[in-house]
Symmetry: C2
Subunit: 336 residues, 2 copies
């Protein structure tokens, strides 16, 4: 198995990215090959710093870098030799089995969708983001690939999310909830109202509507929504820990006793909130493309990158794209 | 001034509700009259328990109660003598200047809109919910009254939210952000894309798109969105503190040392998160109806009810509905 890693993507690329990739390789005892995509010299500087001799990696040179805040479509057109475009082509040509990036999310999603193409029967690939809950982890899908989805797309998100939850998140019969603003089937906007009956007869383990408060409570294993809503919820959720941290800092600032107090609490708080960090989650898969694409947080740490590489390996082993294709075709034949 | 309070609305009604109302009256030195609407005997039991003699209150009898989980439209039709319907009629007939309820939110919104009617020029009344941020408080509007809003409605939310932020939340020139999934004007769903240019030329202090992460960061004083999105964000936000609490409990459970530790931390955490509780916020106004309607949290405490009554007084004093009417007509004449 060969897993490509965008060495240039992320706030601390290639530094933390290469380190995370090599660490995965080391822990995995070289059972797969890591393909580092990006500026060769810069990557080599890191691999020699990290004494990577003996590790099963290779480098594919890509001279350009798409920066975090570039407009995806423009960047993809102008930077044909960027790590994101080169990596997606490697994947398309099946020279690698998966491609992982913590770089420009929009550009990575667009490159994956355009270059790899969609799984047969999938109208819109979607991002599934694992979110911590009080009981474990749920999958929020779509968390940002699509705006103005149609009911059929929401159904597809349900199918893809259920497969991911079952295969990768180890739920034997994942519960699927439709994110809405009330419990009854008649509630919500037009999209939610029209999606509900499709989900009801889908054969998925559909538990009906869930509300914003039910996400963290862990009411559903798979939380379905349009990507506009999902992305806003995701980014709001990601801002909670930084907000807490800022509040603590303000509370403690300039007061010695409080500083000591805050320091003591911070340690416990970290334990209490263990698992609420994105690092452990292994990135967010873009489900429904012809391949395995995993999106990482821009500020991915070494640990986060390592977990993303392992997640990619797992997804390849479970043949997620094939499972999606089979399930989608079953749902379609049912509908006709 | 006369402020009506739905004595039967809320998880601990009439107990906590009457107590909160009377406390407001006491602190205000009887400068307004409190009109308690609901089952007379039940209310009187509370007023005598609380020795309310000398306080400037009256009771308007309403024999029925709309429960928290009844379907709003059905409940309104069937329970003509409920505290919500009776209170809205009192307000419509200008026997009271404001009406406050912590009861069934859907029923209260529907009763307010149908019975009071809309401010001239307002297409859709909207709920503005104050949300704590790291820098203070922002207003999330619409946080649940409307799904499938049109761009013109988003503009109206901006006008109404700005007035509320300026008059009641003391922002001299409130910044207005459009909740979206990217910064550029071309980002987002069709609604966001079409709303952006309207806001740009509105004369509001429009700062462009903001993302989910910018809400708690306090980037905008007024956060604009469709009520479907707003309600999901609001309920998600409301679930954060209970989630933290649950995590702490799980962490401490069955371990004596950790229990002591968690107890010590809880106290500090409460201080750190001061202001993050809904209680201090004084409820959420339904803006754009012909009158002053304030919606309270179902689990409103005595403190929360007291603050809602004071908020109603403030809104009456600032003549919010009249200000909205004037501003909407200015925006309309600009558009033509």
């Amino acid at each position: 198995m060969r897993i490509a890693l965008d060495a240039m993507g992320g706030d601390e690329a290639p530094l933390r990215i290469v380190e995370g990739g090599l660490q995965a390789l080391k822990e995995a005892g070289n059972r797969f090959e890591l393909v580092l995509v990006g500026r060769k010299e810069e990557i080599e500087k890191e691999t020699s710093r990290l004494s990577a001799t003996g590790l099963n990696y290779s480098i594919v040179n890509a001279t350009e870098v798409i920066q975090m805040h570039e407009t995806p479509n423009t960047a993809l057109k102008q930077k044909r030799d960027s790590s994101i475009v080169v990596g997606a082509h490697l994947h398309k040509e099946r020279k690698v089995d998966a491609f992982v990036s913590a770089g420009n999310t929009g550009a990575f999603m667009a490159a994956s969708t355009l270059i790899l193409g969609r799984v047969k029967g999938v109208g819109r690939p979607a991002v599934g983001t694992p979110l911590p809950t009080v009981t474990g982890t749920c999958l929020l899908i779509d968390s940002g690939a699509n705006s103005d989805s149609r009911p059929q797309h929401i159904l597809e998100f349900g199918v893809m999310g259920s497969i991911y939850s079952r295969e990768i998140m180890n739920r034997s019969n994942p519960t699927v909830g439709l994110l809405n603003i009330g419990e009854e089937s008649s509630k919500g906007n037009e999209l939610a109202q029209a999606s509900y009956p499709l989900l009801e007869k889908s054969g998925l383990n559909f538990i009906g509507n869930i509300e914003g408060r039910d996400i963290l409570a862990g009411k559903a294993d798979v939380v379905l929504c349009d990507g506009f809503v999902g992305n806003i919820v995701l980014k709001f959720a990601e801002s909670i820990l930084p907000t807490l941290r800022k509040r603590f800092k303000d509370y403690a600032s300039g007061n010695f006793f409080r500083m000591i107090q805050a320091g003591m609490i911070a340690k416990t708080l970290r334990k209490v909130l263990k698992g609420f960090s994105y690092e452990a989650q292994g990135g967010a898969p873009l489900l429904g493309v012809n391949g395995i694409s995993i999106i990482g947080h821009g500020s991915s740490s070494v640990l986060a990158v390592k977990n993303m590489v392992f997640r990619a390996e797992e997804m390849v082993n479970h043949n997620i794209s094939k499972l999606i294709e089979n399930s989608i075709s079953k749902i379609e034949s049912k509908a006709h």
